[in-house]
């Protein structure tokens, strides 16, 4: 099991979410974060004062995957979050020791797949199918 943390652009969130759902990764948490990377800084003017904004708004997505899902998850994020400009973000992969589902007490891989995963994946693939190959 791996914890995959992705830092992405806020405006790519819709595409990344859809790509993850299509790949069958449906258990995700996200948070708004401020980050400093290689992007150029934004200068704001307030009356006589100029302020350099050194942190950019980003979205942090966290998901824990069983081993067969790790590479598809990475590919889904790479294909959906990339714009080619500086500031597209990072993916971090870490080992996870144990997972316990609070509702049932199930552990590890049994605790990882949401009960609605198949439905979410099917909907993502049908309703918002990409135009390619059609």
């Amino acid at each position: 099991m791996k914890l995959i943390t992705a830092i992405i652009r806020p405006d790519r969130l819709t595409e990344v979410k859809l790509a993850l759902f299509r790949a069958g990764v449906t258990g995700i948490s996200l948070s708004r974060v401020s980050g400093h990377g290689g992007e150029s800084e934004i200068v704001q003017q307030y009356r006589g004062e100029s302020v350099v904004m050194e942190f950019h708004e980003k979205i942090r997505i966290e998901m824990v995957c069983s081993e067969p899902f790790v590479e598809p998850t990475i590919q889904a994020i790479l294909s959906s979050a990339r714009t080619g400009e500086v500031g597209d973000g990072k993916i971090f992969v870490q080992a996870i020791e144990s997972v316990i589902r609070i509702r049932t007490g199930e552990r590890d891989n049994a605790a990882l797949t949401p009960v609605t995963a198949d439905l979410v994946q099917r909907l993502a693939r049908s309703e918002s199918a990409p135009p390619e190959g059609a």
Binding site: Q44, Q45, R47, G48
Partner: protein, 450 residues
């Protein structure tokens, strides 16, 4: 002394004039929450409520002061320097018009209209002391300042027998009485209090610019009552002042956006809101004395002067936090002097001609009125804050300033920590205090590593 209004034959009350003055009073009242939003958006979120309250509270404090003795000090019969107390508790101020002020409106209506001016004037000063002044000290300052600075100044300029009024100084709606006095007092108060601790260390960014734009819009709306209402009658003069008010604000807003664009390639929203207020301030003394073309000149020139002042302010180290002096002081002085240049009897036969109409003397009178206002406002503010400092703390304690004035001064937050903070909180009985064991407090207060 018997009020003058009771001695004379009852004048005819005009329903049109009364309706316009009451509506104007309500419009000026709306400027106070407008100012609260204008200022509230420009401060940081942790002091937003405190900043809003500094404006709103004056509707209460000055409203009471005005009834008890403020109106009498300002407009009561008396010496050229101050009114006496014959209108104490609005005694004798009733349905009969006072021929010296609004001869076709019940005297009480005029007193209420002026009550709104008194409230907003001291509220303007709050922009210079936000995020660091104790609320109690501010309320005391507001009461004393209105009593010792505003009321005498209003008497000098507007009251029958006031010495600047007798000299022929032109101030249609309060360029000297309201804006120069508030702007200069704000600058002095900022110097006496000292800067916010974070000034120059961390950027201090407006927390809600939409509030500021909404506030500027409400101020523009209310200013029609402020200026056109100062005609004290519904007629050609009110229309002229209404037009001048709108034209000057439009000119200043346009000029400000162009200056912004020329300097930074972007027209900022905070700048636009500031430009609106500057134009309205500048036209205030002139509104009933100048042509539409004159109003346009006043709006544009005042915008240039205030813009320069705002650019210079960060280099001075004086923490006039919301640029009250640059907006109200500089634009007020510009407007008062330009009134002496551009005034013409063609617009208002009861006014005077200015420099361009062949009367250079008027400019000298305006200069004298500005000088006298600056002197009274500056010395009054220094004395009041000096006395208050001797009996109470003017500034927030350092930890309270760091956490924001909302929690320390009001026990509330404008933007609490969200649902999680509320759900994780614990209800206690009203008035119950929560205290940690002394040992625990000492431990948490000790710096790390000890």
């Amino acid at each position: 002394m018997i009020p003058a209004g009771l001695l004379q034959a009852p004048a005819e009350v005009s329903s049109g004039d009364t309706a316009w003055l009451l509506l104007s009073a309500a419009l000026v009242m709306l400027m106070v929450p407008g100012l609260a939003l204008f200022y509230g958006g420009l401060v940081r979120g942790k002091s937003a409520l405190n900043t809003l309250m500094m404006s709103l509270a004056m509707l209460g404090v000055v409203g009471v002061q005005w009834v008890l003795f403020g109106y009498s000090l300002a407009f009561g019969p008396g010496s050229p320097l101050v009114g006496f107390l014959s209108y104490w508790g609005l005694h004798g101020v009733g349905p009969v018009p006072n021929p010296a002020y609004a001869p076709t409106v019940p005297h009480l209506g005029f007193a209420m209209y002026q009550a709104m001016f008194a409230a907003i004037t001291v509220a303007l000063i709050s922009g210079a002391v936000v995020e660091r002044m104790r609320f109690g000290a501010y309320l005391a300052f507001g009461l004393l300042w209105t009593t010792l600075v505003y009321d005498p100044l209003a008497h000098w300029v507007w009251a029958d027998g006031g010495w600047l009024h007798t000299l022929g100084a032109l101030d249609f709606a309060g360029g000297t009485v309201v804006h120069i006095s508030a702007g200069v007092s704000a600058l002095v108060a900022a110097m006496v209090l000292g800067p916010r601790r974070s000034l120059g260390r961390t950027p201090i960014i407006p927390h809600n610019v939409p509030f500021t734009l909404l506030g500027a819009g409400l101020l523009w709306f209310g200013w029609f009552g402020f200026n056109a209402g100062s005609a004290l009658a519904s007629g050609a003069l009110a229309v002229s002042a209404f037009a001048a008010t709108h034209i000057a604000a439009a000119g200043a807003l346009t000029a400000w956006m162009l200056l912004d664009f020329a300097r930074t390639r972007r027209a900022t929203a905070v700048g636009a809101a500031t430009g609106i207020v500057v134009g309205l301030v500048a036209i205030t003394p002139a509104a009933g004395y100048v042509t539409p073309r004159g109003a346009l000149v006043i709006g544009v020139l005042a915008a240039c002067a205030s813009y320069a002042a705002i650019l210079l302010r960060p280099r001075t180290g004086v923490d006039d936090a919301l640029d009250v002096f640059a907006c109200h002081g500089i634009a007020g002085i510009s407007g008062a002097l330009l009134t002496g240049v551009l005034a013409t009897r063609v617009v208002n036969p009861a006014g005077a001609d200015g420099l361009l109409a062949g009367n250079p003397h008027q400019l000298l009178v305006q200069l004298l009125a500005v000088g006298a206002t600056v002197l009274l406002a500056a010395t009054g503010t220094v004395v009041i804050l000096g006395v208050l400092r001797a009996v109470m703390a003017l500034r927030l304690p350092v930890p309270a300033e760091i956490d924001g004035a909302d929690i320390s001064e009001h026990g509330e937050e404008a933007y609490y920590g969200g649902d999680v903070a509320a759900l994780a909180g614990r209800r206690i009985a009203l008035g119950q205090s929560v205290s940690l064991p002394a040992a625990e407090v000492r431990r948490s207060a000790a710096p790390p590593g000890l």
